[in-house]
Amino acid sequence: MIDSDENKHQEIQELESKLKSLKQQQSSGEIGNPYLIPGAIIMAGLFIAGALFFAQGGSSNIQTASVGGAVGSPTQQQPQAPPPANADSIKAVSSEDHILGDPAAPVKIVEFSDTECPFCKRFHSTLQQAVQEYDGQVAWVYRHFPLDQLHSKARREAAAAELAGELGGNDTFWEYLDRVFEITPSNDGLQLSQLVQIAQDVGLPTKPFQDLVDENDIRGGKFANHIEADYQDAIASGGSGTPYSVVVAANGKTFSLNGAQPYASVKAIIDLALAEK
């Protein structure tokens, strides 16, 4: 009995000395840094979080615009301390805008869009639905936001839509735009010659469109200033990708919506804007 107790006591002492030695080795770094693995795991977590954030680019699939880097832009030099972008800085809706719906509607959705952006194509039908369902309460204002670095044809397509508006008026502009979004496979997939065909489809003379295509001015020909003004307005009001929408309530309060959000989200914002008095 005494022998057994002594043996147990000896075993405990041995184990304790082993544990002490292991702890000493561990603290001296002989058997590895105890913080290495947890650190690696935390780093992995940070990598994943970073990947998520940057994969989204601060957004989901919003196509990143090159701020101040528009092709042929007269403001290509580096801007010095630009004012902070804010949806409240958006240019007021005027008769110069392309408006679908009642221009006197209490809520206006100003959409900055790129005809070659696949998400704009998707969002186009969402806004069509909104204007139909909120007849008289919502007006849709279309402004150009061509992302030249991604879609080299977008600015010329914007010019073609402007030309359609000039030749046929506001309704023809929208008809032309609807047709462009309907036909284009997005991401520069539309052949520029199809701009002439679309003009024919909406009952416009084809020659001016043929001339526009032949001129091949990447800035948008005679509409360059107008398109660039829309582009700069998008940047100034906080747009960093397309589609970018600013919902303006009757009292001037703004809600900026990034990306091709589902109809339910657009509807929720419209309801909030309508509640603003």
Partner: protein, 131 residues
């Protein structure tokens, strides 16, 4: 592969780790869908005149952007990353829990080796996938 499955079995035998993985995955997924509109979300959440039900309705509606604002591929990897992130956090929690328990019991070295091996297997392919 067998070792990875064994590690998974060991961790997710406990329903608490399934809950941790599930909740974290959901939060990461929600964050990914809300990310483009964090400013708007903040604006809406901090507006006192908007009813809580409307605020929640708006947050919920934005989740639908996984269909409208993502390509099929980006939606797929966003969901996969969210799930892997949840598993990673559950594994880290499990690791620290076990480490603490075994340190208290004096078996630090053994569990450190076992756990570190297990988590390397889990984390390394995860990171490699992203790179």
């Amino acid at each position: 592969m067998h070792a990875v499955l064994l590690t998974f079995k060991q961790i997710f035998r406990d329903v608490r780790y399934i809950a941790i993985a599930g909740i974290v995955s959901l939060l990461v997924f929600l964050f990914a869908t809300w990310l483009p509109n964090l400013g708007l979300i903040w604006q809406i959440l901090t507006t006192s005149s908007i009813a809580i039900s409307d605020k929640l309705g708006f947050l919920f509606s934005l989740v639908g952007s996984i269909q409208t604002n993502f390509t099929l591929f980006s939606a797929f990897y966003t969901i996969v990353i969210a799930i892997l992130f949840g598993i990673n956090v559950a594994a880290v929690t499990y690791y620290f829990g076990r480490r603490k328990r075994f340190l208290e019991q004096g078996g630090a070295a053994v569990v450190w080796a076992a756990s570190s091996w297990g988590y390397s297997v889990l984390v390394v392919p995860h990171v490699a996938h992203l790179c």
